[in-house]
Symmetry: C2
């Protein structure tokens, strides 16, 4: 079998543009030891100050990986799964893992109180993050609404930016957005209040403005705080089953939620954008187009862990030996297995919530 790049590691134009426009570093799987599936397969494609984190990993120096949970929705999605897997990677490579519950942000949406947000987080979102692979013993959680230090940093950071700068970063400015952004900037450096150390924030690339804001205010408060500007790791979105860049709730037929009934998901996969040819004859002759097939993309991003196995599927589909319907059936079997496993782990994780490490605030 020739050495090919079977997984579309070439960056689609949309992502290429982001990397260039905002001066991101392009991600190479060689930068980190033992890259995970997402890093190996080009799902992770960029970042900021990645070498600093690579250096911490290789030299066993302290660093942290941080992300937030937004406990407003009833379900989570593949974007959350990617974040958790990347967090888990850093957790396994020596990083302190910090998860904040963005209850303040969630608590301002229609009909969700802080108490609702807390309950949802405890009953679903936190267990879901554990079910996706976070080690409960090695992860520290806090509620944003309880963290005075974060709110105080947010206040101070707000004083360090102008409205024009904010608009240049976010494209628009309004008080709510500003408040959310400066508070998040506080979250991103919060673990450094106790000990100055590098940290990395794995996020969808649409979150880069938050990183830019934080890195700006960190630079402006250097004399006072001397924080390390947070590093970031960017991943592509899991595309919509109809081929759009990103799954969206506005098209539920093309989006998969976690958890979701396997039978329902399999039906969605049947209607997914396929890389198969119009006729059986044509498919056998020309071969399938795995690069354009959303079920193959799902396997690549989420469902097939083993590279050799994925390579085999790719080759069989590409050669025309494997039919689109067969690929979809494989996808259905795999997602059924995944959802069953996830649901089981979710139930188990719900029982662990009482034993988690929450930051205690005085």
């Amino acid at each position: 079998m020739p050495t090919i790049d079977p997984w579309g590691a070439e960056l689609p134009a949309e992502y290429e543009r982001i990397v260039t426009s905002f001066g991101l570093e392009q991600f190479s799987p060689t930068i980190f030891p033992e890259p995970n599936r997402l890093m190996r397969r080009g799902v992770v494609f960029g970042g900021r100050d990645l070498k600093i984190i690579a250096d911490c990993i290789r030299n066993k120096k302290p660093f942290y990986a941080l992300s937030g949970i937004m406990p407003s929705a009833d379900k989570i999605h593949f974007g959350n799964k990617i974040v958790v897997e990347n967090l888990r990677y850093f957790q396994d490579h020596g990083g302190h893992t910090v998860i904040l519950i963005a209850d303040l942000e969630a608590g301002c949406t229609r009909g969700v109180t802080l108490e609702d947000a807390r309950r949802r987080a405890m009953e679903f979102h936190i267990p879901a993050y554990l079910a996706l692979g976070l080690d409960p013993k090695k992860t520290v959680f806090y509620f944003q609404s309880e963290n005075k230090a974060v709110m105080n940093l947010g206040y101070e950071f707000a004083k360090k930016i102008t409205l024009n700068e904010f608009e240049a970063i976010y494209g628009a400015a309004d008080p709510g957005r500003i408040m959310a952004a400066v508070t998040q900037a506080g979250d991103m450096v919060y673990p450094q209040l106790a000990t100055r150390m590098p940290g990395i924030i794995p996020v969808g690339v649409d979150q880069d403005p938050h990183l830019r804001l934080c890195r700006d205010v960190v630079a402006r408060t250097k004399t006072k705080y001397n924080f390390f500007p947070p590093s970031s790791l960017y991943h592509k979105f899991t595309p919509s089953l109809d081929g759009d860049l990103k799954m969206s709730k506005s098209k539920p037929g093309s989006a998969i939620e976690l958890p979701e009934e396997p039978a329902v998901v399999c039906k969605k996969l049947k209607n997914a954008l396929s890389g198969g040819r119009d006729t059986l004859d044509e498919h056998r002759r020309l071969g399938g187009q795995p690069e354009k097939d959303m079920v193959f993309e799902l396997m690549k991003q989420h469902l097939v862990e083993d590279d050799v196995e994925l390579q085999r599927i790719y080759a069989q589909y590409k050669s025309g030996k494997l039919l689109s319907g067969e690929l979809k059936q494989m996808g259905c079997d795999l997602i059924t297995e995944f959802m069953t496993d996830f649901t089981k782990k979710l139930d188990k994780a719900r029982k662990q919530v009482g034993k988690l490490h929450f930051v205690k605030f005085g």
Copy 2:
């Protein structure tokens, strides 16, 4: 002696304009029982929802009076004194008194950390407020940076206003200003989190935008919180000794700080804008102009408690019997007495700080 209005209760044009433009209620000393010196003499000139507070006073219903201390400056000024005297009025008439230390706001200014702000507040600003008349047994204090509930309300309020609305209220918007304003809006209703009740904020009229913002967001969160919109009580500034609307640090020769050396202050009074005539002869013939005399204004606002005594000074000056130099000497004697008394009370109050009621946060 004819019944005259000796104390310029007619509202100067600047204040008249504010009352009209922003739909303030004009203050009448008859609205509250036993009005204090500032209320009787037109220094207090306007407000919002004053009848609600008057009703609480007369019917002994619970209400609160709230103000903030900004612990960045080294001294306080007559504006603070007016606020404290009005707070004391409400305290004496059944109002719960709440003073917040705006350490977040102060802590963002150059070179002042939260720790600095706290230390300054404890060593000077809080004792100064006690020295000016607050009853330490009846006053509750808190530090803004410790008050999660206020910060959470600020976050929520930020989500309830647009940038255009903010600009319409404040004339300008920037992230720091927005953050300060929404946090202050949180402060203004904070006492109602435990018990919904009317509250009044005595402030200089330049602070009215904060009231408007708070009242707007209170209206928008009515379903969720059902807060009473805070009432407000507005006072004129103590004018600059050269006759400008407001004392300013930028003209130290025309501003008096608390505390300040009496000898220094007396020198400033000597140079103050006088209502005396150019020659002795003219003064005896035409009489003085107390309305234009800054030393008389200072007596009216701050130095002469007794109305009959003030009336006597007014009449003597007006008739030409009392000379400008004699009025200035009286002013010097009175301010010397005031500063001596204030300094003594300040020393005493410093010893009471350990016994104050600070809100305890869990």
